[in-house]
């Protein structure tokens, strides 16, 4: 399969982030088209395209939009989830840095479709560069009359607010993001009501991922058929894959959904010299790990689910034989423990407990009984926590034990650093990996 740069097509143009740069490649033509059409027709088009949310869960975007009640007399809001914080995920930030206007055009079209007159872009606060880029692009768009009152004579008004988060992974959970945006402590909300009915300020709200929205202008401009020529029936379109880890050329590779990891690995120059793939995760630390046996599976929502993993954010992390699975799982759990918001018991206490036990294994002090304990603890979190953060935290260990139980058994007497030279796994020590 070939790479199909769409969102990333003109990233070699250093002026792409500016309005003129974006326009020189046909930017904002989709908007003109959209504003002349009917909002419901846009929703129908996106529904027909089969576009699925790129934030991780893969919920059909058009369907989500259609949940917003119309003519309800309440203001509607579009909220962009740009709080990309998933370990391993690095695709929304590059999109905002290189091609912010694709996002903004998507925001305007989407707002028009769902009848929102105010959109919020909630950007991860740790990347001020992205905040600046998007804020700059919004300003340019506003100055050009693309945001504001009566956009391009259509009678449609839209205000766009760029908001920087304050450094909490949980705020990537959509309802916690809404609370945070409203000025409260970011903790997930009880559903129902769902945001489509009572979201931001108790009003109907659509929350979409950056990449999802960046897809919109291209779908409107080029049509459903064009979009559906990529990908599969259930996972149509293309995806900004961000490949990281022990590969020769980590980076962004935009390809149709359904491409295999083996193909993506080739694009990324393969494993670093002398290294062989040990395990990989299709989309962030929250999805179960896979092994070399799964390299030929298509990267689609359905195939990944069938293999017992998830496509997630579509940002594969590649690990070679120098990596201790015990250590990797421990680092992830430390992350989840640190980021658990504290609202629900299983996640708050479970991540605390599991991390403590994993740290014992990392130092070679685990026990066989504790291997079983860890398994049941993960079972006590999965499906019982308030939001998906707990589910995510319960993911790494059961997946790791499925393929690498020997390593955990070894960790009952030998520390991870003794089993695997930590220096060897560093990116800069490729030579020693041989």
């Amino acid at each position: 399969m070939k790479l199909t740069p769409v969102i990333t097509e003109h990233w070699d143009d250093p002026a792409l982030y500016t309005l003129d740069g974006y326009k020189s490649h046909g930017g904002y033509e989709a908007l003109a088209k959209a504003l002349k059409s009917d909002p419901d027709a846009i929703i129908a088009t996106v529904k027909d395209s089969g576009l699925r949310g790129r934030g991780g869960a893969g919920f059909p975007t058009g369907l989500k939009w259609s949940f917003v009640p119309q003519n309800d007399g309440k203001p509607h809001y579009l909220v962009v989830n740009a709080d990309e914080s998933e370990p391993g995920a690095c695709k929304d930030v590059p999109i905002m840095m290189a091609n912010p206007h694709a996002l903004i055009e998507g925001v305007i079209i989407t707002s028009f479709a769902i009848r929102a007159n105010h959109a919020f872009i909630y950007i991860r606060g740790e990347v001020p560069a992205a905040v600046r880029k998007v804020a700059f692009a919004v300003k340019q768009a506003r100055d050009a009359g693309l945001i504001g009152k009566n956009i391009q004579g259509s009678g449609f008004d839209l205000e766009v607010t760029v908001h920087a988060g304050a450094g909490a992974y949980i705020c990537g959970e959509e309802t916690a993001l809404l609370d945070s945006l409203e000025g409260y402590r970011g903790q997930p909300r009880l559903k129902p009501p769902f945001p489509a009915v009572a979201g931001l300020y108790s009003s109907p709200t659509v929350i979409n991922n950056v990449e999802t929205l960046a897809n919109i202008p291209y779908i409107i401009d080029r049509g459903v058929e064009w979009f559906r020529q990529f990908g599969t029936e259930k996972s149509p379109g293309f995806k900004v894959f961000a490949v990281s880890g022990h590969v020769q050329r980590p980076g962004i590779y935009e390809a149709p959904l359904g491409i295999t990891m083996r193909e993506l690995l080739d694009f990324a120059g393969g494993m670093r010299p002398g290294a062989e793939l040990k395990f990989w995760l299709p989309g962030g630390s929250s999805v179960p790990m896979l092994t070399a046996d799964h390299l030929d599976l298509p990267l689609t929502y359905e195939a990944m689910a069938e293999a017992g993993s998830m496509l997630g954010t579509g940002t594969p992390m590649i690990f070679d034989q120098t990596v201790s699975v015990v250590k990797a799982v421990t680092r992830w759990l430390e992350f989840y423990k640190h980021e658990s918001c504290g609202k629900c018991t299983p996640c708050r206490e479970g991540t605390y407990w599991i991390t403590g036990v994993l740290e014992k294994f990392e130092h070679g002090h685990g026990t066989a009984v504790e291997m079983e304990t860890l398994n049941t603890l993960c079972g006590q979190i999965a499906g019982r926590s308030f939001c998906a953060l707990g589910d995510a935290a319960a993911t790494p260990y059961p997946a790791a034990i499925k393929y690498f139980s020997d390593e955990f058994t070894a960790a009952t007497h030998t520390s991870a650093d003794e089993q695997f030279d930590p220096i060897a796994s560093y990116v800069f020590s490729g030579a020693r990996a041989q």
Binding site: A168, I170, R185, L190, K337, H338, E339, S340, C341, G342, K343, C344, T345, P346, R348, E349, G350, T351, Y352, W353, G356, V357, T373, T376, G379, Q380, G383, R384, S385, F386
Partner: protein, 784 residues
């Protein structure tokens, strides 16, 4: 037909819980429905009066067709739903066990030294649904312990299970949202912003609803184990709200009081005064009868004191009976009878506070002896509420909570008065500005949009302060008949409504019967088994009564529960008492009156007697003695003995008195109208004041932690007056007698008023200023 069936069907849903078929109202939560059939699902964050959060996950249950376990506390039942709790579902049982195991990971398990041990939902539920052993071998997270969230409430953070009941109570119920969860993950903890105290009149409730031992009270901490306590239901004696409380005692000493469940009244809440102010029950009590001999009080036996008192009263000429707000209905009724039968006097008043003839008329016309009309529940369905001379947060905190609950559901509250208080703010009230003492004018001049909105579903709440605002009560009376809005009088003290109904005020016999009405006299004379002719004629009340005592035209006084400091003319009264021929005092504690009395009888406090209080609704709230073995006599008991010593009969048995009072039908004859009273138009700055909930009241003595949660004393002025005075830090308010200097606070106060707390540290209006609400004072910047 089908339409009707359809309507019926939408009202309820049919569900199955653990194989038991149920029909429940639409919208019922699984956890509530399960309770109805005796199935107890474990819970921590769930509280029936708080909105569900589903945070603790202890109540996970299985629903057929749903792959994951669901929280019963947030799951609404839908038609046909088949629910399996831990009793019939392995999935639910394992899920609950797992959550329970997690909850104990970071819990210190210091039950042997924890106050909650023995009545702890965590302890109990860990036993009922938890594992028998712990697999956790790691290190628990710890916090320095304990910290004060305010002077009265202590927090041991390591015990907290983050159920957020306390923070939700603070925000949803009390409206004092300064208690919050801070930090995240296992470091999540309850706290306040910048470590400022959790400022709330309702802070004790968070101690009670805490499902673990994380929140404890300074007054109860380390005092007792719950299983060593004897618990007795009681009625709060601190205000006219009529809260059900539970008194817990150990070895004859009250160790704590808790809010008890009365859905009609206090739901499950109480204010901090009701909860914590009980030290007075034991401290500094008068222990035996005292008689004055050679100018000094000395102990005397009961018979000696009785004969002394009987002889003194018999020798006296004109007599008066003053009954304070602490009297139970039965005691007040005994005073009412004692005055009329034994003393042959109608000089009688229960209003140990500022009062007026207008108020007496208003009470006779609208309140005395009437059945329950406006209720707490009516507040929830009211169209509008108008507050006149009434500050619910300070003067009837449970009314405040019910108002707040209703305001959250859309009720509009208007408040007529000189200050837009913190409480008004929490009720999002519309402020109808009136200088202190000018409420009457403000009501007659009400905006047509406000009057237009008042209808038969509206309620006008009138507080005791309306009596200090000439014309206010007659204006309220008029507004009521003009708009159909219902009027509710909310006195501050627990005994006032009952005393009014019992006829402990001149001119009114029990049940609101005018003493001037011959039919009324006949009805009462029959019940009392006396000749109607022997009933006295209308006597004196209020100011006139005090003046008569001061002038000596009344030369013998029976006084009970009176603190002259509560009266605007207290000094005058005290002088009268000093010079009176004979004074009988029935008191719990020594006072300015007992120091001048001829004879003093100790009487029982609420824990030592049974009785009842009638709350502002007119609802009877009976209670029984906590200490049944107490030897103290009730007021009625003392009066009965005194009557005997004067060769007259007066049954002093509480139950007999209640039975007799209840046997009286409500007065069906005509009632006096409220005369139209002139408004006063004070020239100059008027004094606005009321009693803060927690202040220098004598029943709050001996509880320093409670006192420390009181709002600090400030003089509150408008921004305009603040400018005029030259933006001083302190201001001095001067009245007829003297001055009060307090730090200034600028707020929304009507331009010609200055607000001071009535009876708080450094601000005792009557004794320091010598004037009262609505009277003209002078104000200047700086110290005196």
């Amino acid at each position: 037909m089908t339409v009707t069936n359809h309507t019926e069907k939408t009202d309820t849903v049919n569900v199955v819980i653990d194989g038991i078929e149920m029909e429940v109202p639409k919208g019922t939560l699984v956890i509530r429905a399960a309770e109805q059939i005796g199935i107890e699902i474990p819970r921590f964050c769930d509280h029936p009066l708080l909105t569900p959060v589903a945070a603790c996950r202890a109540c996970l249950i299985e629903i057929d067709g749903v792959p994951k376990p669901q929280p019963a506390c947030a799951q609404v039942l839908s038609d046909g739903m088949n629910v399996r709790t831990q009793r019939s579902s392995e999935m639910a049982r394992i899920a609950q066990e797992g959550v329970m195991e997690f909850l104990l990971v970071n819990h210190p398990l210091d039950c042997p030294v924890c106050d909650k041990g023995g009545e702890c939902p965590l302890q109990n539920q860990a036993m009922s649904v938890g594992r028998s052993d712990s697999r956790f071998e790691g290190e628990k997270r710890t916090f320095p312990k304990p910290i004060n969230v305010n002077a009265q409430v202590l927090l041991d953070r390591e015990r907290c299970v983050s159920c957020a009941r306390c923070t939700r109570f603070a925000e949803e119920i009390a409206g004092d949202a300064s208690l919050e969860l801070l930090e995240r993950g296992s470091q999540q903890q309850v706290g306040t912003a910048n470590d400022e105290p959790f400022d709330s009149y309702f802070s004790g409730n968070v101690v009670q609803i805490c499902p673990v031992g994380a929140l404890t009270s300074s007054s109860y901490r380390f005092r007792s184990r719950p299983f060593d306590l004897v618990s007795v239901p009681t009625t709060c004696e601190h205000c006219a709200a009529g809260c059900s409380l539970r008194t817990d005692y150990r070895r004859g000493t009250v160790t704590r009081r808790l809010a008890w469940d009365d859905p009609e009244v206090n739901e499950e809440w109480s204010c901090d005064k009701g909860r914590f102010a009980f030290a007075y029950l034991a401290n500094g009590r008068i222990e035996s009868p005292l008689i004055r001999e050679n100018g000094e009080l000395r102990s005397a036996s009961w018979p000696e004191a009785m004969h002394f008192a009987a002889a003194g009263l018999a020798a006296a000429g004109a007599t008066a009976v003053l009954v304070g707000g602490r009297a139970t209905v039965e005691d007040a009724y005994a005073y009412s009878k004692f005055a009329r039968i034994v003393l042959g006097s109608d000089n009688l008043d229960f209003r140990a506070r500022a009062s007026s003839t207008e108020e007496a008329e208003f009470l006779a016309a609208h309140v005395a002896g009437t059945k329950i009309d406006v209720t707490y529940r009516d507040v929830e369905t009211a169209s509008q509420v108008l507050l006149v001379g009434f500050e619910p947060e300070d003067e009837s905190p449970i009314v405040f909570l019910r108002l707040r609950k209703s305001v959250k559901k859309g009720l509009k509250v208007h408040t007529v008065g000189p200050l837009y208080s913190l409480g008004s703010e929490k009720l999002s009230a519309n402020w109808i500005e009136a200088n202190a003492g000018c409420e009457g004018q403000a009501i007659t001049g009400l905006d047509s949009t406000v009057i237009g909105a008042l209808d038969s579903k509206s309620i006008i709440f009138v507080g005791e302060r309306a009596a200090s605002s000439p014309g206010a009560l007659s204006a309220v009376s008029q507004l009521g008949s003009q708009t159909g809005a219902r009027i509710a009088w909310v006195p501050r003290r627990a005994g006032e409504r009952g005393a009014l109904d019992a006829g402990a005020i001149a001119g009114l016999l029990p049940g609101g019967r005018p003493i001037s009405d011959s039919a009324a006299r006949a009805e009462i004379a029959q019940v009392w088994n006396i000749d109607p002719e022997s009933l006295p004629n209308v006597g004196l009340t209020g100011t006139e009564l005090v003046t008569a005592i001061a002038e000596g035209s009344i030369n013998a006084v029976v006084s009970a529960g009176i603190d002259p400091a509560d009266l605007p003319n207290g000094a005058e009264l005290l002088a009268g008492i000093e010079n009176a021929d004979f004074v009988v005092a029935l008191e719990n504690h020594h006072s300015e009156i007992t120091q001048r009395a001829s004879v003093v009888f100790p009487v029982a406090v609420v824990t030592e007697k049974s009785g009842s209080f009638t709350n502002w609704e007119g609802r009877s709230k009976p209670f029984s003695a906590a200490f049944r073995e107490a030897l103290t006599l009730t007021d009625a008991g003392v009066l009965s003995m005194l009557a005997s010593a004067m060769d007259l009969q007066l049954n002093g048995d509480t139950r007999a008195l209640r039975k007799e009072l209840n046997s009286l039908q409500p007065w069906s004859g005509s009632r006096a109208n409220v005369n139209t009273h002139e408004f006063s138009a004070p020239v100059g700055t008027t004094l606005a004041t009321w009693r803060l909930l927690i202040d220098s009241g004598v029943m709050q003595e001996g509880e320093p932690h409670l006192a420390a949660t009181a709002r600090p004393s400030f003089a509150v002025v408008s921004a305009g007056m603040f400018e005029q005075l030259g933006q001083p830090e302190l201001i001095t308010v001067t009245g007829a007698k003297g001055s009060i200097t307090l730090p200034v606070q600028v707020s929304e106060v009507s331009s010609d008023s200055v607000w001071l707390p009535m009876n708080s540290p450094d601000s005792h209006i009557y004794s320091q200023l010598g004037c009262g609400y609505g009277e003209v004072v002078s104000v200047k910047g700086g110290a005196a």
